[in-house]
Amino acid sequence: MSEEKILEFEAPIYFKYSYTAGKTTTSFLNSIKKGKLVGQKCPKCRGVYVPPRGSCPKDGVATEEEIELPDIGTVESFTINYLPIPGGAVDPPYVSANIILDGADLAFMHIVDGIDHSEVRVGMRVKAHWKPKNEWKASLENIAYFQPIDEPDLPLNHLSDEKNA
């Protein structure tokens, strides 16, 4: 029989949940399954959101009008990750970037690759690199990463000016 003094113990706490994507997210995921990026437009501020969430967070109103966006955009900000995350989509080091699609008003985070990490720039033009079609499912993971395209960078100040306006 053990005489060890107890200082700590393990408490496993695990729960199963069912996640419901909701109408808007389902619609977005169904589109991306077909290789299309479909956002929503706010009826008030006309802001375009992708991925859409069914509401404009700025105005607190429902968004319904759908708008298809190209898979081309601009790097708004980014970092190079060196820390592995349990269950993470990719192994470090990798570049995670806030990418704003052409025609969208809000960035979303995705991976930038196909370029030396030290060459990634704010304002850099990128295009989605899709996984092979037979691997497509209802997830943003269908885009393996965004890679640079042969277009001049968007003027750096353009982005911040727009934001500070």
Partner: protein, 353 residues
């Protein structure tokens, strides 16, 4: 003390599974409905406060997404309690008392359908001695009911009467989840769930959201025909040591009754947050409500239980009664924790002649 009143209340239909509707969509409905009811915009709101719980849906920071349902550009004066939204209302009431706000928006939301609510609630317990054994919320409530039966305070029949009245009252509540006419015999012939409780003795699993708007007297009278004034409000908690509690009494309710001078009021109606039928009977006893007091006209939480706004819904339901002129002085009650560990009492009154 500033005079503060509830001037608007909105609630989604209470459903077992809101399915396609996410939290933001649920909140958006009720926030807009409450604002429209008194013709206000978010920019007229001085303080916004919400109540929710991450564990219900299994996502950290549930309230952060919830904020997307409220227009918060330009930025708003806003806060959140990881509690029933009745406590968000309390925080808002303090903000009005300190004159930081004249009008406040309170909302609560919860989707209990995605998870295993009975087990999730276990995490409210002491994490060393109790939680590792996983006693669930229904079992704990059953222990309380059994102790009350053993003490001859209630019978299975008196519990069934509570359910019968709840289902009957719920017939006139368009948002209710469970309603209908049942006989005591029908109810008692139902199988036992966790003895001595039958399923109908327990509040159902519900998805939904609700919102309330509070205002100072001056604003309230200009925006609402018959606002419900919060005359008195107090909340108290009891020990976490489950085995130390006498489950057949409620010292926190007794203390709060004293603090709000409950015995000085002639209460017409009460909306009691009793997630289990026997708890309604315990509350009636501890609050010393006589038979003339009409209890849970809305059907109470046995007819629909939006976790994290069920307490707020009691305040909202009392507002509905007062606004419609059916009640002059009412008592609303909210609870949290296993077996009524924490309680809030609110006296609400009409000032119309």
């Amino acid at each position: 003390m500033r005079e503060v009143a509830v001037i608007a209340y909105a609630q989604t239909p209470m459903t077992r599974d809101a399915g396609a509707q996410n939290e933001v969509e649920l909140i958006m409905q009720v926030v807009h409905q409450a604002l429209d009811e008194v013709k206000l915009n978010q920019t007229d709101i001085d303080f916004t406060c919400s109540g929710s719980c991450d564990y219900l849906q299994g996502v950290t920071f549930a309230f952060v997404d919830g904020l997307n349902a409220v227009s918060s550009v330009p930025p708003i004066n806003e806060s959140h309690v990881e509690m029933d939204a009745a406590w968000a209302l309390y925080e808002s009431w303090l903000k009005i008392q300190m004159e930081e706000a004249d009008v406040a928006l309170v909302y609560g939301f919860g989707k209990s359908s995605p998870g295993e609510l009975r087990s999730i609630m276990t995490l409210q317990l002491d994490p060393y001695y109790l939680a590792p054994l996983w006693p669930d919320s229904v079992s704990l409530a059953a222990l309380q009911a059994k102790a009350m039966i053993d003490n001859k305070m209630i019978t299975e029949e008196s519990m069934a009467k509570v359910v019968k009245r709840s289902r009957k009252n719920a017939k006139s509540n368009p948002n209710s989840q469970l309603s209908g006419d049942f006989s005591i015999g029908d109810l008692l012939s139902e199988p036992i769930f966790v003895s001595p409780l039958r399923k109908h003795d327990c509040s159902p699993i519900t998805d939904g959201a609700s919102a309330i708007i509070l205002a100072t007297k001056e604003k309230a009278l200009s925006l609402c025909r018959n606002p419900a004034f919060i005359t008195s409000i107090d909340h108290r908690v009891e020990t976490a040591q489950f085995g130390y509690r006498n489950l057949t009494s409620s010292p926190s309710i007794q203390k709060s009754s004293e603090v709000i001078n409950l015995s000085d009021y002639s209460i017409d109606a009460a909306e009691l947050h009793a997630p289990f039928s026997h708890q309604e009977l315990l509350l009636i006893k501890e609050l010393q409500l006589n038979e003339e007091v009409s209890i849970n006209k809305s059907g109470g939480v046995l007819a629909g239980n939006i976790m994290m706004s069920a307490g707020l819904d009691r305040i909202g339901s009392m507002f509905n009664l007062i606004k419609s002129g059916k009640v002059r002085t009412g008592l609303a009650h909210a609870t949290s924790g296993p077996c009524l560990q924490q309680n809030m009492l609110i006296i609400m009154e009409s000032k119309n002649e």
